[in-house]
């Protein structure tokens, strides 16, 4: 057969091949469908990129804004944490040396999605830093800067430092390194590190898991997703104030040096 007959869409015997109007329609439809599927795939990839990297960029920008605002408030003599902060307003700094020497985040007031997109958020009903009770903070594990991505690496005794306008509060993750570490319950049944269901609101109570009881310990609780981008279980860190609150006039606490 000669090449020219094939290009003309004829069979060797001169009959027309399937290239009827129906065939053209099917081809157009198939091509259109293919293009739509490819487009959807590209958009989904872009969304994945946005979740992993884009929200991190937005969060980094927001955190530097919050840092500047909080420092400006402190310098001007205001202390948002004691002055009925609005949801989303920066109230304190958190440092976790185990997650890096330079690890510092602005804690915002509230745990709404908008607030948590900007930084770790203070459960509004929970105590303030250094107070008897439970200073509870939620933070992202995947996306939005992932401030609490490394919480699973914390072990008994690791320091978590909260800085307010006038004071450093050094908390240490619960647990005795010589007796089971962060996963062994202490005399009150509290553990330094545990995984719970998302419905277990008891972990952020003034006395964790004991509704209505008057607190005497000064606790810090951090909550995050157990897995990045996965939502059924929560990783919970309980820590307790170690020693006395340290006035800022006394300088940076040695724990902060890692």
């Amino acid at each position: 057969m000669r090449p020219s007959t094939i290009r003309a869409g004829k069979s060797p015997r001169g009959q027309r091949l399937v290239s009827s109007r129906l065939g053209d329609g099917i081809r157009t439809l198939a091509r259109g469908l293919g293009e739509v599927l490819l487009t959807v795939g590209v958009v989904l990839l872009l969304f994945a990129g946005y979740e992993v990297f884009g929200t991190g960029l937005i969060n980094a920008h927001k955190q530097s804004e919050l840092t500047a605002q909080l420092n400006a408030s402190w310098t001007s003599g205001e202390d948002p944490i004691t002055q009925a902060p609005e949801i989303g307003e920066g109230i304190a700094l958190i440092r976790i040396p185990k997650l890096g020497k330079d690890y510092v985040k602005v804690i915002v007031e509230g745990t709404s999605r908008a607030a948590l997109a900007d930084g770790p958020g203070h459960y509004t009903a929970s105590a303030l830093p250094g107070d008897a009770g439970n200073f509870a903070v939620a933070g992202h594990n995947g996306g939005n800067g992932s401030p609490f991505e490394g919480l699973h690496r914390l072990e008994a005794g690791d320091p978590i430092i909260i800085e307010t306008r006038d004071t450093y509060f050094v908390y240490r993750v619960l647990g005795d390194p010589r007796a089971g570490g962060a996963s062994a319950p202490d005399s009150d049944g509290l553990v330094g590190k545990q995984v719970v269901q998302a419905s277990e609101v008891g972990v952020v109570l003034p006395v964790p898991n004991r509704p209505g009881e008057m607190p005497h310990r000064r606790l810090l609780t951090l909550t995050t997703c157990k897995e990045s981008f996965f939502t059924i279980e929560r990783l919970i860190i309980h820590a307790e104030l170690a020693g006395q609150p340290r006035p800022k006039a006394d300088g940076v606490p040695p724990e902060q040096m890692g």
């Binding site: 745990t111 709404s112 909550t223």
Partner: protein, 56 residues
């Protein structure tokens, strides 16, 4: 779909490419500034609190 788009753009190749670039940037901007933030807010990826997401 894309073939139709290319054919219906006016001008020569350079002009078509320029218009396509503008369209692409516009589509990406809408996706990243409007669609993705909206979708993210309605997906459960963001839940890190105990209790409901707006638990306070």
């Amino acid at each position: 779909m894309y073939g139709w788009l290319w054919r219906s753009l006016p001008g020569r190749i350079a002009a078509k490419l320029a218009v396509l670039l503008v369209l692409l940037v516009a589509v990406l901007a809408v996706l990243f500034l409007v669609v993705f933030p909206y979708v993210e807010a309605n997906l459960p990826f963001a839940d890190v609190t105990v209790g409901s997401p707006d638990h306070s």
